[in-house]
């Protein structure tokens, strides 16, 4: 071993240089980094939200509502198929986890089965049997989605929601907000630097489903009595925009899916802020027909079942565009436009976990983490120097290389450094010298057993190797488990721990070996200095 193979020296040199290059961005100001040539890495260590301050929200798709909406839809489909097949039905609705419909004449079951055949096929994936149809004796038909399909549905909803949320909270695509799916039905939103997530939550919290309904005119007494005509519902005004409750048809004439664009503008006559919207061709056609058929009546535009506006139709509107007037300001009109343009969420999202750390608290965590790390390094270096003298210096050089490699690896991978991650680093620093200690102690033993320094050094490295590998693989196992099960900051800890273990074995073994070999060839000692 005292003749260290050339490839090892080259390997160490290359890794060390790469390490320095990748670690460099952390120590250079942003301005200098910008002026670097393209091949130089510019990515520093990514600080976790607990260190840089910001908000994290964990959202969950409201699966219950999603399933209800979906079953409603299925019941509609079944009804329309039966209508087309001229089979009379009754009792259409959703009960528990199934959509059901009842044939008036139970003997028509055979035809009904034929008519409903392709309802069980997914329109999106083409998969068959996404739900099971069961038939009761008295003409009752139930459609029950399979658990697998329901899970797909919520995963799909989460995926769609991510896009909608991104358009809502980051319409220009410039902020550093990160939005990711977690599991089947959850979404993590991380907004660095946001210490008041109120606006964030407001924007995420709304479904923002825009619907167009006809207004059912009822007398004030009827409205006050709370009795609504069949197929109608009472809707409250949208906070800050609408001004009165109304009774509208339950079924929307069309929905916000037909909306192409909404934008704030001013009304040509009054000069007030209004919200202009543009419908697609299908929407324009429906809108034109409604406004022609119902001239003189009122129709209502609802957002999340609250009235934005309910104007009287003065003349047919066939251009496909219109405007919503209310008590808008530029700010509120713009806010609403963002929501409408982003589209509706497929299902409501519930906030199930929220963490906010102010920037000052984060900075404080960084400061104390830095002090603690420095103390740990100082203690470890001091201890190694005191305990092993010259060989301690070798261990410290290895430790410095180790530190550079850890920083480089963290920057390269882009894993977030969290507060527990800093704790992991400190522990890694202290544990990194364990490999050195194992090697040195082995050398001491071999020397004591009567071997000359060269043989003792050689045996020290070789024999300690097995132990080092056994000992460190087990730590990696623990880190892997942490990574699998840990959440947020704890994951950051798992990252630093595993990166630290790998780099520390590399440096403690290879770097120290080279240093010891060089020293030995240079000084030819008669006895080991430890």
């Amino acid at each position: 071993m005292l003749q260290v193979a050339r490839w090892r020296i080259i390997l160490v040199a290359v890794v060390a240089v790469l390490g320095i290059v990748w670690a460099l961005p952390n120590f250079i100001s942003e301005r200098t980094r910008e002026s670097w040539p393209d091949f130089m890495p510019k990515q520093g260590i990514n600080l976790g939200l607990d260190l840089q301050g910001g908000s994290q929200l964990l959202l969950e798709v409201d699966v219950e509502t999603l399933r209800r909406q979906y079953l409603d839809n299925v019941a509609d489909q079944m009804a329309s198929r039966l209508r087309e097949a001229e089979i009379r039905y009754t009792g259409r609705g959703v009960v528990g986890d199934a959509a059901r419909i009842r044939l008036v004449d139970a003997t028509q079951m055979e035809q009904a089965r034929e008519a409903l055949r392709d309802v069980t096929r997914s329109r999106v994936t083409g998969a068959t049997d996404i739900y099971t149809l069961s038939e009761g004796e008295d003409g009752l038909i139930e459609a029950r989605p399979t658990p697998v399909y329901l899970r797909d549905l919520s995963r799909q909803a989460a995926q769609q929601s991510i896009e909608v949320i991104r358009r809502r909270i980051d319409p220009t695509g410039t902020s550093e907000v990160s939005i990711q799916r977690q599991g089947d039905q959850r979404i993590v939103v991380q907004a660095p630097g946001v210490s008041n997530p109120e606006q964030l939550k407001d924007r995420i919290g709304q479904t923002a489903l825009m619907t167009f309904h006809m207004v059912r005119e009822v007398s004030p007494e009827e409205a006050a009595s709370g009795l609504t005509p069949p197929g109608a519902m009472v809707v409250q005004p949208y906070p800050g925009v609408g001004d009165r409750a109304d009774v509208v048809e339950r079924r929307p004439r069309f929905t916000g899916e037909r909306l192409v664009r909404a934008s704030p503008s001013t009304d040509a006559q009054t000069g007030e802020w209004v919200l202009s919207f543009q419908l697609d061709s299908e929407g324009a056609r429906i809108f034109c027909r409604i406004t022609r058929d119902f001239t003189g009546d009122r129709f209502a535009i609802l957002l999340d079942n609250q009235v934005l506006t309910a104007p009287t139709i003065n003349e047919p509107i066939c251009g496909g565009s219109g405007q919503i007037s209310g008590n808008f300001t530029l700010e509120s009109a713009r806010e609403l436009a963002v929501m409408l343009n982003a589209g509706a969420l497929p299902a409501p999202l519930n906030i199930i976990d929220e963490r906010t750390v102010s920037a000052s608290l984060g900075q404080d965590a960084i400061d104390s983490g830095a002090v603690a790390s420095l103390v740990a390094v100082a203690v470890t270096v001091g201890f190694m120097l005191l305990a092993y003298g010259l060989f301690g210096i070798f261990a410290c050089v290895a430790l410095v290389v180790n530190g550079v490699l850890i920083i480089a690896a963290m920057s390269l991978i882009g894993a977030a450094l969290t507060l527990p991650g800093i704790a992991g680093l400190i522990l890694t620093i202290a544990m990194a010298v364990d490999a050195n200690v194992l090697i040195y102690e082995r050398m001491r033993e071999e020397a004591q057993a009567g071997r000359g320094p060269a043989l003792a050094i050689d045996a020290g490295f070789n024999r300690a190797m097995i132990t080092i590998i056994d000992a460190n693989l087990t730590t990696i196992l623990a880190a892997m488990i942490l990574f699998q099960f840990g959440a947020g900051p704890v994951r950051g800890f798992a990252w630093t721990l595993s990166i630290g273990v790998i780099t520390s074995v590399f440096t403690a073994v290879l770097v120290t070996q080279i240093l010891v070999a060089w020293w030995f060839r240079w000084s030819r000692p008669k006895t080991l200095p430890i």
Binding site: S55, L58, S195, E198, K201, I351, D353, E354, R355, T356, V357, S358, S360, L361, Q363, D364, A365, S368, G369, A372, V375, A376, T380, F383, M384, L386, A387, P420, A423, G424, I426, L427, I429, A430, V433, D434, V437, L438, Y440, E441, R444, E445, Q448, I466, T467, D470, A471, T474, T475, L477, A478, A479, I481, L482, Q484, F485, P489, V490, F493, I530
Partner: protein, 345 residues
């Protein structure tokens, strides 16, 4: 400078007789593990585990989980609810704050004054905790808008809202992680050594984990996600220590085929003693640094780790190694004879 490097001061050969004290150590360990378990399952003798078991719902495993929830001062990660840190340039009247909290949510409101961490910021801080409810996030927003009632310039600097469901998942996830980690270690050691070693290592790991959990249960220290991380790290450290001892034991088993097992264990422990001392004290010093300078958030982690490293070192010497004596071990390649322990602990 005859004293430097210090390593020369460590005797090159030590002859401690560990095995002789094994019985004493075993009784001590059993007593400590027993006390820890009692504290975990009775909430420090404050509660009746049988009653909790009967009252709680779900599978037997979930019920045992809820008994353990009573045994700890669970942090917000595992308990669920909202914890909000407020800072203010003027003194915060805790009574006012409690009244405000009571208006926002009925019951389950807890208020306490606390030291502010960023030393240059307004000097008055308070924590208000709400029990877990459906609208946890909503309460925070209401509190934010009502804060001026508490004092001008009062503001929220830290918010944690964890719904009950998430906290349960985190708790069970943490326990699963602990169990899985130990299982993997068992398999690894079994694979690399022999089953006796695997069993001994697991005994040592269980010992460390239970004692550390006991520390948190008995002294009612806050138990949160970071502590799970600390426990897993302790497992990593302890197994590391144990593997070093076992490695030497395995080597000596091949080297001294005739030496009685207890002597062999003593020899191996003595040979690895200097490494145990140096690595252990380096880690300890670094962690003491973390405890003093790492800030409040890492205090629990540092306490758990310091305790865990001491216990982990002890368990490698006095649980993992003597455990080999209980079951004996196959010696040499040709000899299938099993050496029976001469002094069982």
């Amino acid at each position: 400078m005859s004293w430097w490097p210090l390593i020369r001061l460590l005797p090159k050969k030590t002859n401690f007789t560990y095995v002789k004290f094994a019985v004493f150590a075993a009784s001590f360990s059993i007593a400590a593990v027993g006390a820890s378990l009692v504290s975990m399952f009775t909430g420090g003798l404050r509660e009746n585990p049988v009653a909790i078991y009967q009252e709680s719902e779900g599978s037997p495993l979930a019920r045992i989980g809820s008994i353990m929830e009573h045994g700890f001062d669970l942090g917000i990660d595992f308990r669920g609810g909202s914890s909000i840190l407020i800072e203010s340039p003027s003194p915060i009247d805790l009574g006012d704050l409690r009244a405000l909290g009571g208006r926002l949510q009925e019951g389950g409101v807890e208020v306490q004054g606390t030291a502010c961490r960023p030393t240059d910021s307004p000097p008055y801080c308070a924590i208000i905790n709400f029990e877990a409810t459906e609208g946890g996030s909503q309460v925070v927003e209401e509190l934010r808008s009502a804060l001026p009632q508490i004092g001008d310039g009062a503001r929220i600097i830290n918010v944690d809202v964890v719904s009950g469901r998430v906290s349960e998942e985190l708790f069970s996830g943490g326990l699963i992680a602990l169990g899985l980690a130990m299982l993997l270690m068992l398999i690894y050691i079994w694979f690399r050594f022999e089953w006796q070693f695997g069993a001994g290592a697991i005994m040592a790991l269980l010992h460390d984990v239970i004692l550390t959990l006991g520390l948190f249960s008995i002294f009612r220290l806050e138990f949160n996600l970071t502590i799970i991380a600390a426990l897993l790290t302790i497992i990593g450290y302890s197994i590391n220590d144990t593997v070093v001892v076992y490695d030497r034991l395995r080597e000596n088993l091949r080297k001294y085929k005739k030496m009685p097992l207890p002597e062999l264990v003593d020899l191996s422990l003595n040979e690895t003693l200097s490494r145990t001392i140096i690595t252990g004290s380096t880690a300890l010093f670094a962690l003491v640094g973390l405890y003093y300078f790492g800030g409040e958030a890492l205090e629990g982690f540092a306490i758990a780790m310091i305790f865990g490293i001491i216990v982990g070192t002890y368990s490698s010497l006095y649980v993992a190694a003597p455990a080999i004596l209980i079951w004996g071990v196959k010696r040499g390649r040709e000899g299938e004879t099993r050496v029976t322990p001469q002094t069982a602990p």
